[in-house]
């Protein structure tokens, strides 16, 4: 398992382009199973099916100079800053493993990581919840994608994020969510530090995560740097896709941007 501690905090769009580059290179067989751990400066990230204007308070976004970015996976909008750890695990797995492989197996690496710090459980397939003093708090959001026997799971871990900024940037949906007795943890978000009542060092979490995923996959962890192909492809995807309003704001599908690629 390759470990990339590779981040471009000042340019979330390029950093996200790198994630797709890495994902594509994996599917081509050019890079091994990879755990990437990274961070962003102040950025609001919407899911693949979301329209930014429907999910974000643009008044606040402009006021606080928050970047707006869309990711290649579905799910909901998140806010991230340097107090939020971002992680991506991208692997070649079994044929036909589908979402079960992702949420029953791959997610375990992250849950085991958190078990070093808190009591943890998974609700609603992929909501990772920390239990503290009888309360349940969501400290992480995850999402995933897969193509054939390649799987990508990524997520956030709120450690010391500005939660006031988070709630002012993300819109609360018009529909009330608790009308069906469904345990909805989305709006009981908190920082890991607050949930467990101590300041956790980022290095502690990174070490725990590398160990957990190395054990889960049964592969030795090898710290590495990105390949030249990954970096070049990231630059290209940044230019034609991740830096454009069509991608970030207008919800164009990924396929639209393929025609701009130089092969």
């Amino acid at each position: 398992m390759r470990v990339l501690i590779y981040e471009i905090p000042g340019n979330p769009h390029l950093s996200m382009a790198f994630e797709e580059a890495m994902w594509r290179e994996l599917q081509k067989g050019n890079v091994p199973n990879t755990l990437r751990i990274w961070r962003h400066r102040s950025v609001a990230i919407v899911g693949y099916f979301q329209l930014a204007e429907e999910e974000l308070n643009f008044e606040k976004i402009r006021e606080h100079k928050v970047d707006v970015l869309r990711r290649i996976t579905g799910g909901g909008a998140v806010y991230q800053d340097l107090g939020c750890l971002v992680w991506t695990i991208a692997v070649k797995g079994p044929k036909g493993g589908g979402i079960n492989y992702i949420y029953d197996f791959l997610l375990k690496g992250f849950v085991d990581t958190l078990k070093n710090f808190a009591k943890v459980k998974v609700e609603n397939v992929n909501d990772v919840v920390v239990q503290h003093n009888g309360n349940e708090r969501k400290v992480s959001g995850t999402s995933a994608t897969f193509r054939d026997d390649y799987y990508l799971l990524h997520g956030t871990l709120l450690v010391d994020t500005d939660l006031q900024m988070l709630s002012s940037v993300l819109k609360v949906p018009k529909i009330k969510l608790s009308d069906k007795g469904i345990s909805e943890v989305k709006y009981r978000v908190t920082n890991l530090n607050d949930a467990i009542g101590r300041k956790v060092n980022f290095d502690e979490i990174i070490d725990a995560m590398v160990q957990s995923y190395s054990k889960l996959l049964g592969e030795k962890a090898v710290y590495d740097i990105p390949t030249k192909n990954e970096l070049d492809l990231a630059e290209e995807l940044y230019k034609i896709k991740f830096s454009t309003p069509e991608w970030n704001l207008l919800r164009f599908p990924s396929s639209y941007f393929e025609k701009f690629r130089k092969h």
């Binding site: 979301q50 609603n124 992929n126």
Partner: protein
């Protein structure tokens, strides 16, 4: 042109349909934080509904056709139908 918007909270995830009604045809946009695989089914669905008549039965059939092979987490084909029909009813009483 009239625009109808309908939001539906599935077991997991919110589905939002925006239906634009032209003279005798519709255009649909589906947004939200739901999870569906392969992801691009969403645009396939939008394309299949572009220009069709604003008839509920026809729309239901198209949704079923396109989404029958999709994998979803916490939402169903019926949820998508309900949402789109809900938005349609905003503009076709």
């Amino acid at each position: 042109m009239k625009i109808g918007i309908y939001e539906y909270k599935a077991k997991k995830g919110l589905i939002r349909a925006t239906v634009s009604l032209f003279d005798d045809s519709i255009e649909v946009k589906i947004t939200g934080d739901f999870l569906i695989f392969p992801e691009d089914m969403v645009w396939e669905l939008e394309n299949s509904l572009r220009g069709v008549k604003p008839e509920e039965e026809l729309i239901s059939r198209k949704v079923e056709e396109v989404l029958s092979n999709a994998t979803m987490i916490g939402c169903t084909v019926d949820d998508f139908k309900k949402t789109i029909i809900g938005a349609l009813r905003e503009v076709v009483p």
